[in-house]
Symmetry: D2
Subunit: 502 residues, 4 copies
């Protein structure tokens, strides 16, 4: 099939070349965006007198038909038409005729058009991810609230370190994920800029109005500089990187659930709905959702590297390499989006074994720091000395095959080291629950402090949610405005009465 | 739908969880392999007396039906059945009944089955890539042969350095790609090992015969150690890395064609069939295939990083993260495979502008080294001194706004520096064609040496090709053997008469 | 040498283990920060009555001595002391004695201390990078201003596309780099949060005041949640990714300079001070700085992947893997920082060959779009039709071995196609300078528009600069405040008189 | 300081540019190699009559002095001399005078020289890594042998799956690492090729003898094609990737040790010499070496991505980006080399808690598969049915709050399901040790099979070791030969009497 850009060419592509160079696979995700962008562009052309209002009417009629055909399945992308842009334009030309349809591409190039579509789609995907993160944060905060004073082991180096509360642990993940929301919002800001009107690379001699398309497409602002507008893909790399950081954060939660599900740890058990069995071992119950989320993080990391490597050393101006931007971007959204939903579901239904948590929280001499602190605050020892004394005590208890649970031996060894501590005091010091309630620093694991932090994180989350929603509404309003103008023009109204006041 | 492994479970998965954890997308590429593996496994079970020969007959009948159904489109994978293994086994159970169909999975686990299928598929993909590389090497050698003495500019630092021949340049790419063939063959060797029989992770108490499945599936050897067999994915990372190195090699050729197509260089022009136009600039002819090949290299790089990051820090034994191995592996084959075909086509049809090549080969004082060498060999100067003299000469010519083409000025400046050279000698020294023919070291750009190297590279290529073909034939023979045994058993013959001598 | 944490241990490390686990190499970059953090921590401990004011005096005296010793070279880090923290604390204990020195580590852990130091150092490195980017942007804007109306070729697909101005090209890079400044500022915001006081992972039972250390160390806020504070390294991955995006932007400029320096293009020439020669080819002048900047971009990309892979699947709480954060972070700053300076210097001194630029700007039928646009705006053709007509015209001119320069043939072919255009009009349409001045869309290459954009970019840059400076001043003020308190206490003043009002 | 290549230049570099472009940091690792390469080159030049034998004598004298000065510390690289090559040549020129010293660089370029040095160094680093891997494999095999029948839990999905032996687990790591040895040997083969004599890119008109330098430098063969020889860095990417795969394999062992050291698992304890304590928690004993090895794997992954991204899209011929090859390569060796030694030490001294292993091996219904297999082999059930029966049994036992240890309940529930099994038989089936000894498939965990595999792996290791040693000896012999020729020539002997027979 002859290409729309084929005037200069004397030979057709082979089918292998066509298959290789088409971008239908990735463009399929932004057909709606291509049509919307074309509607906005056509309205602007007419508003500026570059095309006639009668021509606009026909163009909008056929674009609307394409949009409806897309939903009904009647309009389908053909790979031999290379990309979504040529598909939509061909649809228009076949419908409205070459004389009318051929006017849409005035003062536009595929270079600005493709990246406009990509940005329109990407911003909505970012919003979806933000919603997924927010939902997961909410689940973690609910879990934290319900377990604000449930004692559980705190780990460093994957070894039992100090007793904490489960609410403290769950809210730590919420605190980390809250930063992902900030990064996503920033990536949104770099994404939601309007390149339309940059044309091939240099702008145009037609008197276009880029503010109008910016408004109709709900972009935050034009990406003014035409050469930058068609060349830049930094928002792609930034978004892929932000998604990879998010995926890594999820993978850390996933890793913990995998190991905590191991019967030897046994502090949590995922719901049957979030586990799978073995084809050979009848007893197995595997925390597969966490394993998959962890594994897919590797995709996210690879895609961040890909998006960066893609643009390394490319001269300005559109290069066909740019076509690969969407391959990376869509894959990056898909690599992490579903994990958010499934992990949120898993965490909302997870069973907590409080008894096992308490047991482990007291194991491994976890309250040794409290004892050392006591020697500092009550006996005036320098911390280093008290640290050494308690370290030595632990070594002696291990050699004796016992633990802090053996209060008498513990007391005796301390007394031998010159530090006589009353049994009640010592019992209290070595009790995980007491240790936890005794914490008092800002951000600590003390239940009251955890409760305060949950409240603060809920406030941050509400603000982030409100911002996400406002952006989604702005997009929806602009889509509606464009549709209304299109319907109005098609219905015979004068364009000037339909346009928003500038 | 109830899972085959569901005996221990009291709750169904949600659809989001099912969608998340299914691997149908990537498994779709190895259904034929899963059936073949099941045929081999079933034959082995019966040969060892673990299942009855009558049962084998029925199992093979239904597996054959699945295989035929796959080709006819009647047998399609259902995502709710989780993966290819459960699909095939369910097909069998629904056909042959639970009593018979349920016997196939004896002495097998999805852990060894999945990686068996993956290896069976991957080795064939490697063979396809090898064929693609070989075809590209052949094109480059043909190009080299046809242009063994065509003078063209040789670049270092992207600056004109010394005159070379186009045949020298083209054979350099062939020489590099020949190493890719070696790496691919090594990756094949690490791929084509039989994990089947490792079961879940520890082998089995059934008296299996892994040598027989190895033979029926054309594996080079069993991957003996059962725990290693189900845990290892180093062949995935190795293969992805080898494909990435290959992609990088292609990207370098692509980069050169992109720039050489720039009219200001203008040494080559891709055929219309391998170029695309612009939607806005009617005059444009873009070397898009090379740009795409270069851009897709970023995918290959990202996938190598992904395959490595995937396995980092995973404990031995199957983890669900392993499921992501195929996602990376198939994507890695797809990222580079089509580039091979298209770039080979592009290079086979590329137009060479010999005049422009000769022009640039003589530009940029490209024969300065020859002049410096002459001062060493004929006048006995140390190379450093002659280098300095010629460097100074070049600077003076530039300041005077002229080049070596101005023989008189060149002679005079040399004479001023104390080195009188006869005009004829100097003209000859500064002539690119003379310089090229004057080379005499092993591996140099001298046409005779280039011709010799083309011959040597052809021999290496033929050997590699023969190796690839031998491997492909071995696979085909084993597939045929399995099919014959299956047909024989189904047709009522005794298994022992059909088995190969061990 | 016995470790400060060694109470529980019965055996020394081997030297291989010591060498392997020490972090002196990377810690060497944050000794000043460790001392500052210790000063702030000690002041806070005394302010809260956790240590005595007399003890504070001695501690501050010895910390000041360490600081001075660091500058004089008298205090050097010893690898056998494992890390910077143990070095400083050991210096203190050896100086002030175990009774006093051993009190500093009260209510602190290496877990919060290490990441505090890292954040203190990283924020200053980010500021340095911001200054480097700003300087490069300024150079590009100066270059743009000086060449706002210098005609040069605009490329797409590395092929000559349309005439633009050099000012337009240079300001495009400035426009892109301005977004890097935004990303760096955001990364700064995620970096400059205070983890000190989180202790091991859970906070502490000592009544610490994290707001005070936040103030003394010029952090923007505490990173409240103790477990998040010691676990999080997302700012490391974010910063590495942001630096990689920046490096990629630089690599694109570098690529252009490399190719434009090729004599066959010849539009620019780097100053001798930014080029290197060849050891064998006396005539060579290589744009090595750009090649190095491009090559080092690979480091930046690899480091972003590294920072992400590092944290994948790590459970919360400090893990020794975290130690690798600085390895990645410092390397990431070093990979791109020097490139900024050198490329800025190269671009400030680059020679522009205006004649060659004009020549290429008119080559390759670069004004074809203008001709097509004219057929639309003046003759009322649909753009697609005019595009086809001009495309066909170009093909015919190429077949005839001529170009737009042959005005007569061009006119005749157009007339044959039914479009008679007056010679003057046609000459004007096909003139690159006229085309450029004819552009009128927002963000276009028209000199007036370029000048406007340069002004707008300067304003953005000034605002970014002011922000960077304000942050740097805030840090300096806090450093001074800490020093004054330390001097005051050491000099015998009461701490309460020296502390800032809260 | 004026550069040796500076004849054409009229301006010096600034110090920032000098600092930026020097490669002393990475070249410092191959000074010995540069000198050896220069010796071989000089000997070849004289052997071919390109320089006089008298000149050779002086050149060799001064090169030997440089070599000795390097060891004594008297000869140090100066950054202002740019790289190792210019340092050595300058040393020679300053010593022997410009007339003599200036002759060494005849028929050579830094382009071939740099990559010669890099390959010479890299091959020795690969040998070191091979030795490190072999030592680790040996430790794992020793551990396996000493624990061939020690029962321990086998995991899949990090959940207890089936009982295995510790010897089986340890030998699985050995089996995996054995493939790393194969990949390293292949990378060695691609590394140990001689590019010397390729000169700038095209060879030379001097009658060089590349076979002689190949012999003197113990290369396996010349890398014939001159343009390929100076352009190719695929061996760098391959080596970095191979090292990354190795690092990932180590990280998996590291992960297991980290978690198994957790007291709640408690199956192993690292020796005090391989653990570290906490600065705040006196009781902590952290398996830091494993954590560091796991963390450094991220470096290895990043470096593989870097080495690939570096060469993407680079045209043939030396580009200054190539200089970054060593940065990646040396870092890649350093990222994994020390881990090998330290992890080997850790594994050689690790304490195994056999009792805890046995306990966990029997937990989690780990012998369920055996029971299911029994219903197949003894009762003739299809595996799927027996799998479902045992799965249901496990669910019922869990609901009843008990395990297989409650033999009576287990028997009763089986009987209810229609399968009466004698108590003795059932006890035996559910006993982990019995299960393990009952395995009989090739590569299974049965102690006898593990012992057989250990033997087979030792044989493979011995062969690999022998190969490594043979290569190291070949290098040493060539180094000695070169030294003897140099000493002979310097001592006045005729070169022809000293050269090896060709």
């Amino acid at each position: 099939m002859s290409k729309l850009w084929g005037g200069r060419f004397r030979k057709e592509m082979t089918s292998a070349v066509e298959a290789y160079s088409q971008s239908i696979d990735t463009d399929g995700r932004m057909v709606r965006e291509d049509i919307w962008g074309s509607q906005a562009h056509a309205i602007m052309l007419a508003a500026q007198g570059i095309i006639a209002e009668d021509d606009l009417r026909e163009i909008l009629r056929w674009l609307e038909q394409a949009r409806a055909g897309l939903e009904s399945g009647e309009f389908r992308l053909k790979p031999e038409l290379e990309d979504v842009h040529m598909n939509v334009e061909t649809y228009l030309i076949e419908g409205a005729g070459a004389d009318l349809g051929g006017r849409l591409h005035t003062a536009r190039s595929r270079n600005d058009q493709a990246i406009t579509d990509t940005r329109l789609r990407a911003r909505e995907e970012i919003i979806e991810i933000e919603r997924g993160v927010a939902a997961l944060v909410r689940v973690m905060l609910d879990l934290a609230e319900a377990n604000a004073d449930v004692i559980c082991p705190g780990f460093t180096h994957t070894q039992i370190a100090q007793p904490i509360t489960l609410g403290f642990w769950a809210s730590a993940h919420a605190s980390a994920l809250a930063r992902d929301l900030e990064r996503l919002a920033a990536a949104y800001g770099h994404t939601n800029l309007n390149p339309l009107g940059a044309c091939a690379l240099a702008g145009t001699s037609f008197p276009t109005d880029r503010a109008l398309t910016t408004r109709l497409l709900a972009f935050d602002a034009p990406l003014e500089h035409a050469l930058d507008a068609v060349s830049a893909r930094d928002f792609v790399a930034e978004t892929c990187a932000v998604l990879a950081v998010l995926a890594v954060n999820i993978s850390r939660l996933a890793e913990e659930i995998v190991w905590w599900s191991n019967p030897a740890i046994g502090t949590v058990e995922v719901d049957d709905a979030y586990a799978t069995g073995s084809s050979i071992m009848p007893q197995k119950k595997n925390p597969c959702m966490s394993e998959l989320a962890r594994g897919r993080t590797a995709r996210s990391i690879g895609l961040a590297a890909q998006a960066l490597a893609l643009m390394k050393g490319l001269p300005l101006g559109y290069n066909r390499d740019h076509q690969e931007d969407r391959q990376a971007l869509w894959a990056a959204f898909d690599a992490v989006g579903p994990s958010l939903e499934v992990i949120a579901g898993q965490m909302a239904t997870i069973k907590v074994n409080r008894q096992r948590m308490a047991e482990l929280a007291g194991a491994g001499f976890s309250t040794a720091t409290e004892l050392a602190n006591y020697l500092v605050s009550d006996r005036g020892l320098p911390f280093r000395e008290s640290h050494h004394i308690v370290g030595d005590l632990v070594a002696k208890l291990i050699e004796a095959g016992t633990t802090f649970a053996d209060l008498e031996t513990t007391r005796r060894l301390l007394a031998d080291a010159g530090h006589d501590i009353a049994a009640d005091t010592l019992r209290s010091l070595l009790d995980p629950a007491h240790a936890v309630s005794n914490y008092r620093s800002l951000g600590s694991t003390a239940p009251a402090e955890v409760t305060r932090m949950i409240g603060a994180l809920r406030s941050r989350l509400d603000a982030a949610d409100a911002d996400t929603t406002a952006r989604a509404q702005q997009i929806e309003a602009a889509r509606k405005l464009t549709a209304e103008i299109a319907a109005g023009v098609t219905g015979g109204k004068a364009l000037r009465e339909l346009l928003p006041a500038s």
